[in-house]
Symmetry: C2
């Protein structure tokens, strides 16, 4: 059997025992993994060195090397995260709803694991531990497909996980690593509906697009964020400036950072200069529409493409708008349905914005930067879904669950 | 612009107004469609005749012609279904959950439409009305891609819908029909992520497989049902026989009909003959494992493929098993995670079966035939999902909804 089929079959076989495991058994396994990472520190760091050396030989960029690098501190952070995960409520087994039918059938919907999850990611070995632990906590088996450039690190980490699982009550086969990291095998994995219930790609837009293009297995999509802040005519000056600057600059590389500011013309008449000065002082390059460019010397003209671009950088597009409807129309045209904010003191404008903007998270008088599983209080995050099915917005443990109906009868047959 | 892009854009443009429409406006539109179908009866039936004549010229089978055929009575049934749909609760706008974060942010999750739904189906014009009305009730725009063999019927039905919408408060563009029914255009539609939020294929396994293979748009999959009835050693004789015969014979062509019976050897010792005689008397062909074939003259040997086959016909495979664990293992190997039943008086066996069998609906002492949106009391059915994401089992109106988070702040920024 191929590496893919061997590993996928092992994961699938672990699924039934995993689904029946208790919360205590799952938490015990997480604790054992946390301990094992410390026990195996030397061999994990040695394996990681092999990947880093190979990366340097291949001319891997400094930032990619940093993502690939494991250290004693980073291993300790992984163990801490595992122990925090233990504290979270176990969603599996929850009785979601129960009702009785006129024919006497009693129908109960209960929360269950999804089954077998295929995780596809790049050269970030921390995802190996993160994804495995979230899957185990929710009773799911996982087939990991990491990057070839992290294969030694991933192999060492999965060895620690499997050592810990062997000593636990959970099936050892619950976490599987694909050793064959070829594109051909990945393409087969994406179509392995017989073994995998869902694929979760984590990484660049190109990776996610490749999985979407090739897969027949359902995909839990986490996507791009072209987020906007709309400053209404009634917005408080200081609040609006603080939110816009925070959304743009607090961490420009992430998906919930703002890329475009939409500024009401009346507010602009008084405060636009203060806003643009503050952005400029924070090192932000301003690309504006005609009104902005003519008003502000440092601004350069925005091209059509700019409005649709997720810069992930200290660049912002600024557009002057006449009313909330123009702002909504712009967002629904160029946005990626991720996170959108309105700063306003006018209730009916907020209502329209909340009603009509199509996005996972809508903010009134707050920064878009709060779209995050931890900021939402979920205690864990699988990613931020920009699709409409299954889960939308920040995904916590519930996103890794499904349900089944249990029906109790007394001999009912269909007439 | 191509027919596909024109129609998809029109649907997308209708989405915002639709999402904001009230329950009364949506119900009024459904009533107007019900009325319009009666007004347009002559032209609809004429259009349908064109499709039927063409079908006959092409040698279309009688059963396909029957699915394609519209009659005055069938149009009246469509109008009745539209009026029943009016009575159902509108799920849109429901406040699903609200909580407050330590930083003062108030987060509310509300139920919203999915957006634009692509419906892909075969030569059954009733799906045109059924799918459109379910989408409208849930505030979704819909792009219909029916079969070329039903194009005149679909065009007439959509004309009636659009006439009704024009007189209603809903946007007229909410329901769009692809006139171009080529495979090339379908392939483009399946990848139109910029306009479509979800694809729902309704029809044969081949159709569903084609959509899954080609799509990058998320698919709401409704699948095959290879369902089992396990008769435990403690099962009551009459109840077990009644459930097995009902699950197999009451309507063998549907996905929730049973295809395999797993019979405990101790129960078999007393009652197997009565069961097999009853099935035979109901015209069922019996294919058995070695024990069954040696016991029952009329039984023919089952091949390996039989255990994985959804016959949709009066054929059943029968296997003798030693215990509930063997039954569970068989179902988890050959089943399609649709509907599975245990007939038993032994509580711990029922518990194991409910816990360990991986399926959308599990029955204790009832027929598998109840897996159905109407039998579950949903009042409507989009289909029966056999996937784990978004919706599992019978899908009612909720399956056509998503959610968004509305976050109220007082100037919060991320530190």
């Amino acid at each position: 059997m191929s590496d893919l089929l061997t590993k996928a079959t092992a994961a699938k076989e672990a699924r039934t025992a995993l689904a029946s495991s208790t919360t205590d058994e799952k938490n015990d396994a997480l604790e054992r993994i946390a301990v094992q990472l410390a026990v195996d520190e030397t061999s994990i760091l040695e394996a990681n060195s092999l990947d880093l050396e190979e990366g340097q030989r291949q001319g891997m960029s400094e930032s990619l090397q940093d993502r690939l690098r494991l250290t004693s501190d980073r291993l300790k952070e992984m163990s801490s995260a595992l122990r925090e995960l233990k504290q979270l409520a176990d969603p599996i087994g929850e009785e979601m709803t129960t009702w009785k039918r006129p024919n006497g059938l009693s129908i109960q919907q209960v929360r269950v694991p999804i089954g077998v999850i295929g995780m596809v990611y790049e050269a970030r070995p921390n995802v190996t531990i993160d994804a495995s632990s979230l899957c185990l906590k929710t009773g799911n088996a996982v087939l990991l497909r990491g990057s070839s450039t992290a294969i030694h690190s991933n192999r060492a980490l999965v060895k620690s996980i499997q050592t810990a699982l062997k000593a636990s009550a959970l099936p050892e086969g619950a976490v599987q690593l694909l050793e064959d990291t070829s594109r051909e095998t990945a393409a087969k994995m994406f179509k392995l509906n017989s073994h995998l219930d869902v694929l979760i790609p984590r990484g660049s837009a190109a990776l996610i697009q490749a999985v979407l293009e090739q897969s027949t297995v359902p995909v839990l999509e986490t996507g791009a964020g072209n987020c906007h802040v709309f400053i209404d005519s009634s917005a408080q000056k200081d609040m609006a400036i603080a939110i816009a600057v925070n959304a743009k600059t607090q961490r420009p590389s992430v998906c919930n950072a703002a890329e475009t500011l939409l500024v009401h013309k009346d507010w602009s008449a008084n405060y636009l200069k203060a806003l643009l000065d503050d952005l400029t002082a924070n090192g932000v390059e301003i690309r504006g529409d005609a009104s902005i460019v003519s008003f502000y010397e440092e601004a350069i003209p925005a091209e059509e493409d700019d409005w649709a671009t997720e810069y992930n950088d200290l660049i912002v597009t600024v557009k002057m708008v006449s009313d909330v409807q123009e702002a909504i129309a712009h967002i629904n045209t160029y946005g990626t349905t991720h996170s959108e904010a309105i700063v306003s003191e006018t209730t009916e404008h907020v209502t329209s914005f909340f009603q009509e903007v199509d996005a996972a998270a809508l903010y009134h008088n707050a920064s878009t930067r709060f779209t995050d599983g931890f900021e939402f209080g979920f205690g864990a995050e699988i990613g931020i879904s920009t699709q409409k099915l299954h889960a939308r917005g920040p995904m916590g443990l519930l996103a890794l669950t499904s349900s089944k109906y249990l029906i109790e009868g007394t001999g009912q047959i269909k007439g």
